[in-house]
Structure formats: structure tokens, C-alpha cells
Amino acid sequence: MNISEAPLHIDCSEELGLLTEAATNYLRDKSTFEEMRKLAETDSGYDTTTWQELADMGWLGLAVPEEFGGSGLGIPELTKIFELMGRFLFSSPFLANTLATQAILQSNSDGHIQDWVADLCSGSKIATLALTEPNNDSWEPTAITCTATKNGDSYTLAGTKNFVLDGQNADTIIGSFMIDGKPALIMLDAATTSSLSQLPEQLVNHARRSTRINFDGVQVPASAILATGDEAVKVLQYVFSLTYILLSADMAGTANGGMELTLEYARVREQFGKHIGSYQAVSHPLVNAMLLIEDSLSLVYYAATVFDGTWGGESEIAGRMAKSRSAEASDLIGRRAIQSHGGMGFTWECHAHLFLKRAQWGQYAYGDPTHQRRHLAALIID
């Protein structure tokens, strides 16, 4: 059995403590149910003024080194922001933009870093990733069938990507394509991005935005290539492992939000002359959900602590463990939230479904628990 014997630990910086307080206050204030419901009805799904505030607070480049225009903090701090965004159901292109920014940084492509990263941190541009495909419905980073074929000085793209987060809001898209049978990351410039025909997807979490994009015939210059071969694989693995952590944090936070909503109701709603929260059939499943949430948070911050973006070791294992448990936690509390509200819980007006929907989206994006455990089994048992 391949189990790390290194002593377990979880890091927490002083900055993280300060950030937690500030971010909680900000998001509680900004991300009200009313506001998020309003945004969910818009095309873009986010508020540009708020987005600029995130930039001004340094969140858009939170884990970007200061020399590139970021705040120079680490993955644990970034993880905290995701947890709190989940807690308050905050919607924006934050995940898309953060992952794309990290992909550019990891590619070590100086030109692209110079051209884009500062703008992505300042909020003046938005980037996203196009990685998964309807063609194979795979959750693994290198299962790529889209191609880029050399054609004189440029490359011709072919194939379709789906779940391109905030594709409709993005100024640039970074996609994974095969060049001569090897993975490559290609970054489209603003003009090419805006000329793409994107099909908005209808997601179970209707507050999220994503698109399906057919790249057939799109021409890009050789300079669009961010990374190829092993380099590209490394960047992809880095991005996927980071996504596991950030989505897990989002789900753990979402679960906490759903928990609070449900507890508030269970404390005041009365039936048969008693508060429903005094019935064990109501309260004990909430205790079970709480235990799963506590597990999730411990796994999430452990994963953030040991994160190095590489595949095959404790960093990958920790990220997948977090993703597996957090998905279960947020799914359970999402369901209990609806059930515990009775008839009210079945209405659009009741907020309970918002938590289950966000949980469902997070669960099925980038690999559900069964998928994660199958990969963990290969890493740990064999």
C-alpha cells in the first residue's frame, strides 16, 4: 500500500486569518440571496462593478507573484476565498480566470505572461480554459481529441470543447489540442476569441456560465502555443490538481451555507407542537452532514498545504481525496436542506435548491467521487 508516512500537517498563515475576516464581511454583504438570484437571470451571470472590487482587493491575482501584478499569497489563501464564495453562493468568472491565470504562469511562456497576467489580475481582461470535450466525456486532463494541424506559419484547429467556464465572458481562451499526437495548450488572442461562435450551456447550477465551442477551421499563429508535449501535460496536471482543491473548497463552503439555512429553519419551524429541529429524523442527518463537512475542510486545507501541482504523489492524492469527500458533503446537505424545508423546500422561492444545484455542479465538474476514488485506488492500493 502506497501511503505517505510523512507526518501530517496543515499550514495556516497569519495573512489567511486576516483575509478570512475581510472576505467574510465583504461576501456576506455583497453576495446576498437577492443579489445572486438577480445575477443568475443576466446573460453574463456576474456584476462588473463587483468584479472590479475583487481586482482592487487583490483577489484576482491572489496567488500570483507580485512581480507579475499579483498579491503574492499562496494556494491556502486562495482556497479560503473559494470556500467563502461557496458559503455565500457568490457567482463570477473567478474560477475560470484564476485557473487560466495559473495555467499561463505555469507554462513559463514569458511573452504570454507579459501580455496577459497583469491585465487578468487588474480585472481589465478575463481568461478561461477549454479542456473537456463532448467527444469522449473524459474527466482526465490528457484525454484530448481536439487537434491543431500545422498549416504553413499557422495552425488550424478542429474539434469541440464543452463546459468552457465563462466562455461568453472571456477575452481569451486557452484550449488543449493535440499537435502531431502530443498535447499542447493554445491561447487564442482577443480577436479570435470574440469571433468564435459559442453555444451557451444550460447548467444545473443556473448561476454558472459556460459554453460549448466548435473550433473547426479556426486559424491561430504559432505564437499562440503556450506549451507542448511534456510541458503541456505538466501544466494540465497542475491545473487539474488545483481545480480539485478549489472546487472542493467551494463545495465545502456551499455545504456550510446550506447547513446554516437549514438550521435556521429547523430552529423556528414548529409541527406537532415542537420545533422540527428537535426531531431526530431531522437533526441526526444534519449531524452526519456536519461530520462530512468537517472531514472535507480538513482534507481541503491539507490538500492546499501539500499542493505542488505534480501528478502521482501526495499532492494529487490529497486533491482527489478532498474532491471525493466534499462532493458527498455538499450533496448530502443540499438534499437535506430541501427535505427539511418540507413543501417550502420544493419551491423556487426557497433558497434550499440553490445549494444543491451548486453542489451538483461542483460534484460533476472535474470528476465525481466515484471517479476520484477509482484513481485513488490505482495510486494507493496497487
Binding site: 501511503i3 437533526s283 441526526h284 452526519n288 482534507l299 485513488l376
Partner: protein, 406 residues
């Protein structure tokens, strides 16, 4: 704030590891209990008692308790290291569990100077074993309702006990009992009539009768009090304060509060142990570890095991706790630990396929049938010390702030 062990602590850890490895007693000819609630015969008892005594004499028990009572007056983090290394080296468990982990800390917190002088050192040396007289035949979960009577004799000041306690672990071996009894049947509430005693087990009129457990081994007793007279000094705190002290005992017992003398009370079984059994197991003609469903379950158990251990580390950082329930992790310790052991044991049986039907004394039983035994024994954790249902009630009320279920 990366937590890195200082060179001094690292050195201490190595020293402890070496001492434990060198001094770990040879495996006896009889099977050892996996938990202190399973000490079922005298051979086991004497073997474990000698080991606890040796650990104490070496200075590795009660390390953070004051020197004047027999402790070593050293920092708690050293005892924590010893506890961890005991699990790593897999040394036998500490037999005076009730003394070390709940009676002892309770005496340290609520006892008089005299009581500390008298009781603490023999707890550490294992010369005086303790048991706990809380549950009664009629009242277990509803502990506040216990009916064993303690009536003060106005002439001698002694208390006269009548009634019975049950499921008393180690009662036969014990010198003393922490006892919850009713001194005032007419008090304003059921709780207000209770008092707490440090009662001698060898008084006339006290009798412990062993009861077979689920495994047909001994381990707990029914304790009868028939006009048993115990001295006035047995009373701890004041009359009517029994419930408050009993609750304090439970926080030690359930690991909600620190202050225990140290040492392991269980043999720890891990997912790795289950895996090591699983590699030799066949289910339905194929290696169990190739079955995708079992693989999935094993990994889920591994995730739980890691999460539980990691929660202790997350608990050190308030910014990583959920603000609405800062104390939730501590109150959940007992529930998480006992249910974790239960599912792990059940899984270790399941992977054995057809062989899972065999039990301990069958020579063909996988791993000597220990997992089958462990599966049964694991109910000690989900019933003893307050059932899992009661633990969920407590968490619902105190952590989730839900209205009482009663």
C-alpha cells in the same frame, strides 16, 4: 506558520521510540485485548499492569501531571509524542484506563489536596485500578435518572449505599469506583439530587459479578451495593454537585477536554492493517483487492481515516474552523472514532468472502479471526461511554444549536 518539530522534540521522539521498541514486552501465549473494556482474565490483567507500571517508571506516563502527586511536571507536548509513538510501535494498551483518562483528570480538577495525594500516584503506577459506576440496569442513556442510593449516617458521617450499577468495566480488578449516586430523592430536579463519590470497591456489601460479553469473554460486571458503608471522605465536592462532576468526567472520557495522563487505551487498527489482510483474501474466486466495489470502499475508508487525523491539525488554526461551530470537532471525537472503527472492522470481515464465516477459534480463520472478533467488539465504542445516538443528540444541541430532542 509551518509547524516543524524542533530538534529537541525530534530527539525526544527518537529516544521514546527506541525505549518503547527495546522494552515492548514479548507477545504472550494468550490473546491480548484490543481495548481496555475487554480485559477478561487475570493473565491479561497482570501482563498489562506490569507494562503500565514499567512505562510509568520510565517516566513516560503522567508526564504533564504535577510532580507532587506522582506526575513528571513536563510539557503536554512530550506526553503527546509518547502517545503517538506508542501507537507507532504498537505497544500494549494502558490497563488503568478509567483511572488515567477520566477518574484521574477529574480528581485533578475537582479533588481536594488530600484526594490528589492519595489517589493520583497509584493510578499512574497501576497499583490501584479504577472503575466507573454510572450506568444502572434501569438508566443508561438517561444518566441523570440513576437511582442508587447514598444515605448519610448522621452519627458516623459515612454513606450507606444501596442499589446496583451495571456494565462496570474492570470492576473485579478495581480498588476504587467513581460513583454517581442519589443522596436526595426529593431534590428540586433529578440532577440536583445526585452526588459524586470516590468509592472503595473492597468495602463490605459491595460485590462485582462478572457478565459475559457478546464474545463470551468477561470484561464488565454488575456491581451490587447492599448496605455498603463508605467513609465520609469518599464524597467529592458537595452533596448535590454530582451531575456537574459527572459531566466533567464525560468530557474527559469522550476526549472533548484534554488533561488525561496519557497512553493508548485501544489497539489502533488502520486501513493499512485491513489492506494487509486484504492482500491474502479471495472473494468469489478473485483477489478481493481487484474487486472495483471493494476498492472503492477501501479508499473511502482511507479518506475517512486521513480526514479524522487531519481534523486534529486543522483544529489548531481558528481561521480554518467553521465560525458557527468552533468547538464542533472536539465534541464529535467520540462519535467519529467509534463509528470509524466499526465500519473499518466490518469491512475487514467483508473482504474475506466465504472465509468471513469463520470465527476466532477456527484454525483456518484469516488472521486468527481477529477481525471477526473486532467487528463484535467495536460495538463497545458505539454503546459504551454514551451511545452514538446520544452523541448525535449532544452534537445537534450543543454544536448545531438545535432544540433539545427530549
Amino acid at each position: 506558520m509551518k509547524k516543524i518539530e524542533s530538534p529537541e522534540l525530534k530527539e525526544f521522539r527518537a529516544e521514546v521510540n527506541k525505549w518503547l521498541t527495546d522494552n515492548k514486552p514479548a507477545k504472550p501465549s494468550f490473546p491480548l485485548p484490543q481495548s481496555f473494556t475487554e480485559v477478561g482474565n487475570n493473565d491479561q490483567f497482570e501482563y498489562l499492569k506490569a507494562w503500565q507500571n514499567k512505562v510509568y517508571e520510565a517516566g513516560y506516563l503522567g508526564m504533564a501531571w504535577p510532580v507532587e502527586y506522582g506526575g513528571r511536571g513536563r510539557p503536554q507536548e512530550l506526553q503527546d509524542i509518547v502517545n503517538q509513538e506508542m501507537l507507532n510501535v504498537r505497544t500494549p494498551l494502558m490497563v488503568n484506563a478509567v483511572g488515567l483518562s477520566w477518574a484521574g483528570p477529574t480528581i485533578m480538577k475537582h479533588g481536594t489536596e488530600e484526594q490528589k495525594q492519595k489517589y493520583i500516584k497509584p493510578i499512574l503506577t497501576a497499583d490501584e485500578i479504577w472503575c466507573q459506576g454510572f450506568s444502572e440496569p434501569g438508566h443508561g442513556s438517561d444518566l441523570g435518572n440513576v437511582q442508587t442510593k447514598a444515605v448519610r449516617d448522621p452519627e458516623t458521617g459515612e454513606y450507606v449505599l444501596n442499589g446496583s450499577k451495571i456494565w462496570t468495566t474492570l470492576a473485579e480488578q478495581a480498588e476504587h469506583m467513581i460513583l454517581l449516586a442519589r443522596t436526595n430523592p426529593d431534590a428540586s430536579s433529578k440532577y440536583a439530587g445526585l452526588s459524586f463519590f470516590l468509592a472503595p470497591m473492597h468495602a463490605k456489601g459491595v460485590e462485582a459479578k462478572p457478565i459475559y460479553k457478546i464474545s463470551k469473554e468477561y470484561g464488565f460486571c454488575q456491581t451490587f451495593f447492599d448496605d455498603a458503608r463508605i467513609p465520609a471522605e469518599s464524597l467529592m465536592g458537595e452533596e448535590g454537585h454530582g451531575w456537574m462532576i459527572a459531566m466533567s468526567v464525560l468530557t474527559f472520557e469522550r476526549g472533548v477536554t484534554g488533561g488525561q495522563a496519557g497512553g493508548n487505551l485501544f489497539e489502533i487498527t488502520t486501513v493499512r492493517d485491513v489492506h494487509d489482510t486484504a492482500v491474502d483474501c479471495i472473494r468469489d474466486g478473485k483477489p478481493s483487492l481487484e474487486d472495483p466495489v471493494l476498492r472503492d470502499e477501501l479508499i473511502d475508508l482511507y479518506i475517512s481515516e486521513r480526514a479524522t487525523r487531519l481534523s486534529k491539525h486543522r483544529g489548531e488554526h481558528s481561521a480554518l474552523l467553521v465560525p458557527e461551530r468552533m468547538h464542533g470537532l472536539g465534541l464529535a471525537n467520540k462519535l467519529v472514532g467509534s463509528e470509524g472503527r466499526q465500519v473499518l472492522n466490518a469491512f475487514a470481515v467483508k473482504i474475506q468472502g466465504n472465509q468471513a464465516q469463520l470465527y476466532m477459534d477456527d484454525e483456518n480463520a484469516i488472521n486468527g479471526g481477529l477481525w471477526q472478533h473486532g467487528q463484535l467488539a467495536s460495538f463497545a465504542g458505539s454503546i459504551g461511554g454514551g451511545t452514538s445516538e446520544v452523541q448525535r443528540n449532544i452534537i445537534a444541541e450543543r454544536v448545531l444549536n438545535l432544540p433539545k430532542s427530549r
